[in-house]
């Protein structure tokens, strides 16, 4: 683990498009937390879309290429060993590209052809390790290191940790998970729980940690998404949570938007606050609500955190 710790001290940072738009608060809080923890982020130069939903749905191999280009720049131009992607969609796509390049010669052939056409080095599977923001803090610093840097506390704040689907599924693209004690679990993920517990949060037993939020269908089939989100919000409240901690921009936006829509369309109001885990960690590290972008979330939770003495 010490090798991993050393490797994660300085990583290539791939924010992806969501973190420059709807999830700007995730970007702001991730960078602020990194700074507070002494972990270096170096943004990937001239990064591009990971292929997200749009490209993958039309041509999956083109998505593999787009994700591989990000990893190629990190490996060949920046000489980095690790790419950290806080967005579940980006993280998932880079992991999928890594898997495809290692297992599918046709994908490797397409990536090589397009890379040559674009004039950059072809990414070879294994050149970099793609990690999530949760891995970065959990293994780059560890719980003890985090504890030493706390300036405040989440003070028994009751939190439901919601991981969404792309952090753990499909299982085969995450070979490092389910490796026993210390590794992340795909059926019951716990890294976010572990980190927030160190910061003083009281994690509630939440059975819908990885349940579908209907995120990919939020525009095409809004009612299904609203009902799925509403059930997640109700379950979090029934579990006693005051806050849902998120680590995926798609889930986060969906939860916030459909919380409003559920009240308007179905008359079902819920009060649980929805914030990124980095925003919670940041406040526990002594950062101000503004520094972690609480004001950039859709719903206003500033009053709540002030009342709880956290902000």
């Amino acid at each position: 683990m010490s090798g991993t710790r050393e490797k994660y001290q300085k990583v290539a940072y791939y924010p992806g498009c969501a973190l420059e738009g709807t999830a700007h608060s995730y970007n702001r809080s991730t960078q602020a937390v990194g700074k507070a923890l002494g972990l270096d982020l170096v943004e990937v130069k001239n990064w591009n879309c990971c292929g997200a939903m749009e490209v993958k749905n039309i041509d999956p191999k083109l998505q593999t290429y787009l994700s591989s280009r990000v990893m190629s720049i990190a490996a060949s131009e920046m000489k980095m060993d690790v790419v950290m992607a806080p967005c579940n969609g980006c993280y998932h796509n880079l992991k999928k590209a890594e898997y495809d390049l290692a297992h599918d010669p046709k994908s490797a052939e397409v990536v090589d052809r397009l890379s040559k056409k674009a004039g950059h080095a072809t990414y070879q599977a294994g050149q970099v390790e793609t990690i999530h923001a949760l891995d970065w803090i959990k293994h780059g610093l560890g719980e003890e290191g985090l504890k030493q840097r706390l300036r405040g506390s989440l003070k028994g704040l009751k939190v439901a940790n919601y991981y969404g689907c792309m952090y753990t599924r499909p299982r085969h693209i995450f070979p490092e998970k389910d490796r026993g004690p210390g590794s992340e679990s795909t059926s019951k993920p716990h890294y976010m729980d572990d980190l927030l517990a160190v910061a003083g949060a009281e994690n509630v037993e939440f059975p819908l940690k990885t349940a579908c939020c209907g995120g990919a269908h939020t525009l095409s089939d809004s009612d299904t998404s609203t009902k799925l989100v509403l059930n997640i919000l109700r379950a979090a409240e029934a579990a006693g949570a005051e806050v849902i901690a998120t680590e995926c921009p798609t889930c986060h936006s969906g939860l916030e938007m459909h919380q409003v829509r559920a009240e308007k369309k179905f008359g079902q109001a819920t009060k649980v606050k929805i914030v990124y885990f980095t925003q919670l960690l940041g406040m526990a590290l002594g950062l101000s609500p503004k520094q972690v972008g609480i004001h950039e979330n859709i719903s206003d939770s500033l009053g709540f955190f002030k009342e709880r003495g956290i902000a």
Partner: protein, 144 residues
């Protein structure tokens, strides 16, 4: 097999109970099985009577995943349903039994919402959980 609307109504009734008793647990489990029966039947298969790890629900889920990896999106939901069933069944008089039943009802409801949603929009879960393109059947362009 009851219509989905009837299952939905019954789930709402059970989820709204202020103090559900332990007899609700097998009913919630059975409702989960009925939901999965709908999915399996809609794919032209005979819903299995087999059990997996002691539960028909898990066998039905497995059957529902055949050639449909995105159905794994509700795998953990099914397992959570079984988990709460076991908790209540093993300790029906436990101090947390009511809370466990309330959570079990919400988990069963999530299973219903996902499967009912997927019956309307088959691709639900394809993009994310199966990492599969939504237009897989269409001929992909030649990657430039």
């Amino acid at each position: 097999m009851r219509p989905l609307a009837a299952i939905e109504q019954r789930l709402e009734t059970l989820a709204a109970l202020a103090k559900p008793g332990p007899e609700v647990a097998p009913e919630l489990l059975a409702l989960g099985e009925e939901v999965l029966e709908h999915w399996v039947a809609a794919r032209g298969l005979e819903p299995t009577r087999d059990r997996r790890e002691g539960f028909r629900l898990l066998a039905l889920h497995r059957q529902g995943c055949t050639d449909e990896p995105s159905f794994n999106a509700c795998r953990e939901t099914c397992r959570e349903l079984v988990y709460y069933y076991n908790l209540v069944n093993l300790e029906p008089q436990h101090a947390d039994a009511v809370q466990r039943l309330r959570m079990m009802a919400l988990v069963a409801n999530h299973l219903f919402l996902f499967v009912a949603g997927k019956l309307q929009v088959r691709e639900l879960g394809d993009f994310c959980c199966a990492s599969r393109p939504l237009r897989q059947e269409a001929t992909p362009p030649d990657s430039a």
